[in-house]
Amino acid sequence: MKYIDEFRDGDLARGLSAAIRQAAVPARSYHFMEFCGGHTHAISRYGVADLLPDNVRMIHGPGCPVCVLPVGRVDMAIRLALDCGVTLCTYGDTLRVPASDSLSLMKAKARGGDIRMVYSSADALKVAQANPEKQVVFFAIGFETTTPPTAVAIKQAQALGLKNFSVLCCHVLTPSAISTILESPEVRQWGTVPLDGFIGPAHVSTIIGSQPYEFFAEEYRKPVVIAGFEPLDVMQAILMLVKQVNEGRAVVENEFSRAVTREGNVKAQNLVAEVFELRRQFEWRGLNVVPYSGLKIRKEFAEFDAEQRFPVAYVSVADNRACECGAILRGVKKPQDCKLFGTVCTPENPVGSCMVSSEGACAAHYTYGRYKDFQ
């Protein structure tokens, strides 16, 4: 596969591995957070950690829109399907996310909910067109990458005059989450997070561009390297971060220049701005309430807003108290430090956000790395 296989080359990996080893100063340690689950996934799936020196440690951030979806939001989707009788369309990722009462969308489907997996927001629209007698709700999740397709679907529904299509909008914003990690009072509670730099989002950045990260680099004096999701991209980004740290620099660099510009996709940005507006606050699983971190549908499109159309209000549900996700997402603890890891909390029965999708820190460690716990 062109532009994919080349970026997974094992020979080049050995070279970059050597380069990182040489660049890393043995006397110090490097803690980098990859914000995105895509990077976490690449690190786990390709075994990138095995190619890093011991003093370079990756911290898995909160960057998976499935993992951060709070219980209360999934509860809303389940109520729509079970109580309001709507046909709920959703991406496959959300089906196993735990909700209240030991439910999940998968289990709600087993209880008779008409819950359908779609590949695209456009497919949800097709379901609505094909079933005019049913109310169809698209349960929309995702970061900036996934938001523009939802905006397109809403605009098309308006153009088509559809009366049976609406969206339960759970789109969230990455910069706000990064801010929270760096700023929130919990950071103090768990002690200073040793964060030496960030690997910046790949596909989010294709939309928003590299420019938004410049604030973090400046404000918090942290280097940021935007990187692709292939394993060589990740290694190169790590090398670039090590060098910035060594040189005392803190700027935004773009390793993913083949797809990311400073400005991003302005057409997509405008579409999003037309259809959505900021929520004052939004709850993230594992991060609690994050101000201005989510989007809602503008009044002009209220008829396509499932929160307006159906009587389902958001009710916050506390995370399991034994769950250490908050600390893990900030790099203070590792999955293995959680008492529930691999016992009560497994990929089959996830308790916390980090065990939900294969991109969560706990799930990735369980699925790909737990052999290391026995070495």
Binding site: R8, R45, Y46, G47, L51, R96, Y119
Partner: protein
């Protein structure tokens, strides 16, 4: 009254007819369906006995093997096959991986009211020709009809009986440290051929199911004299799940080499697109072979000499591991676990 009239029954209208509840009632409509469709297609000396069960000769020596599979695939017809031939191959393979020569099959049908007789005929004929090609007759069976909305066209459960020659010992608990792990060909073709047919995923790819009866390939492998420890067909859950099962049964660990895994490029591309891993995608005509280290080459040669094993590959080795992990050295140079399948193989966006 003429001879023609007596007991004359209008033949089934295969072109336009559909299954209705009377075809499962036990009465004349059912008898006619069985006679004109099933018995006609599967015809063999055992079925011709016409009883509730088939009487069969006892094999001389060896041990019997019995295996069963329910088949519920959707869509019923897919590139490379259909539920009919699949239901024959699937059970023959479960018998054959025990080292047995498959002898007979039973076939039970659960038909949904409204199912077109023309589709049923196509499926039954596909089963008949798969059974004939494999040399394994369908000797007994059953037909039930369920109301519309309580089935999915047709479900077919087959059970197979075979015989293992004396002295041949194959079992999932016989893998030993040092053994080589082989696969008989490319991974994930069946599962991805099915997914490509699902309209909801909206992609197309020149991928065909690998559905095939493996007893010929297995006989060729065993005839090579290689000391084969375990055979298994990596169906649902794919190679990853099958190896985890064997690792647990044999109480060993395994290490795969990602580079050696044969995967068709279209399958690899579709997996990338849907966020799936070919290690977890189903196969219906592939064999996992665990063989003594010294016989690995010989076994691989025997597999490759057979048309169904042309792309066979050595993909890993068995080692000691009290935790029975299946691991993999990635093509990239790292190491990771290859775990059991969690939940379902669902396409994902993240």
């Amino acid at each position: 009254m003429s001879e023609v009239k007596r007991g004359y029954v209008r033949p089934l209208d295969i072109r336009h007819g559909r299954i209705d509840l009377s075809h499962g009632s036990g009465g004349r409509a059912m008898a006619q369906l069985i006679e004109e469709l099933f018995a006609a297609a599967f015809d063999n000396e055992f079925l011709r006995q016409g009883n509730d069960g088939a009487t069969l000769p006892v094999p001389a020596g060896g041990r019997l093997v019995m295996a069963a599979d329910a088949h519920v695939v959707s869509p019923l017809f897919f590139p490379g096959g259909d539920i009919g031939c699949l239901s024959v191959h699937g059970t023959i393979n479960d018998v054959a991986v025990m080292g047995a020569k498959p002898l007979w099959l039973s076939a039970s049908f659960i038909l949904e009211e409204g199912f077109p007789l023309a589709d049923l005929k196509r499926i039954v004929e596909s089963m008949a020709s798969a059974a004939k090609d494999a040399g394994v007759p369908i000797v007994t069976g059953d037909t039930k009809v369920v109301e519309q909305g309580k089935g999915d066209g047709v479900f077919i459960t087959t059970t197979g009986v075979g015989v293992v020659p004396d002295g041949r010992e194959l079992s999932g608990d016989r893998a030993r440290p040092g053994d080589a792990i082989l696969v008989s060909g490319t991974l994930g073709d069946h599962g991805m051929a099915i997914m490509a047919e699902r309209e909801s995923l909206g992609f197309s790819a020149p991928i065909e199911s690998d559905t095939a009866a493996l007893h010929g390939l297995i006989e060729a492998l065993l005839a090579s004299g290689a000391d084969v420890r375990v055979l298994r067909d990596p169906t649902r859950g794919g190679l990853a799940t099958t190896l985890n099962e064997i690792a647990r049964q044999s109480k060993v660990g395994m290490m795969l080499q990602e580079k050696s895994l044969p995967v068709n490029p279209e399958v690899a591309a579709a997996c990338e697109f849907l966020g799936l891993d070919p290690l977890y995608v189903a196969n219906e005509g592939k064999l996992v072979v665990i063989v003594a280290p010294e016989d690995a080459e010989q076994a691989l040669a025997a597999l490759r000499a057979h048309p169904l094993g042309a792309r066979a590959a050595a993909v890993g080795t068995v080692h000691e591991d009290p935790h029975h992990f299946v691991q993999m050295t990635t093509a990239f140079g790292g190491k990771r676990i290859v775990d059991w399948l969690t939940g379902e193989q669902l396409p994902r966006i993240c």
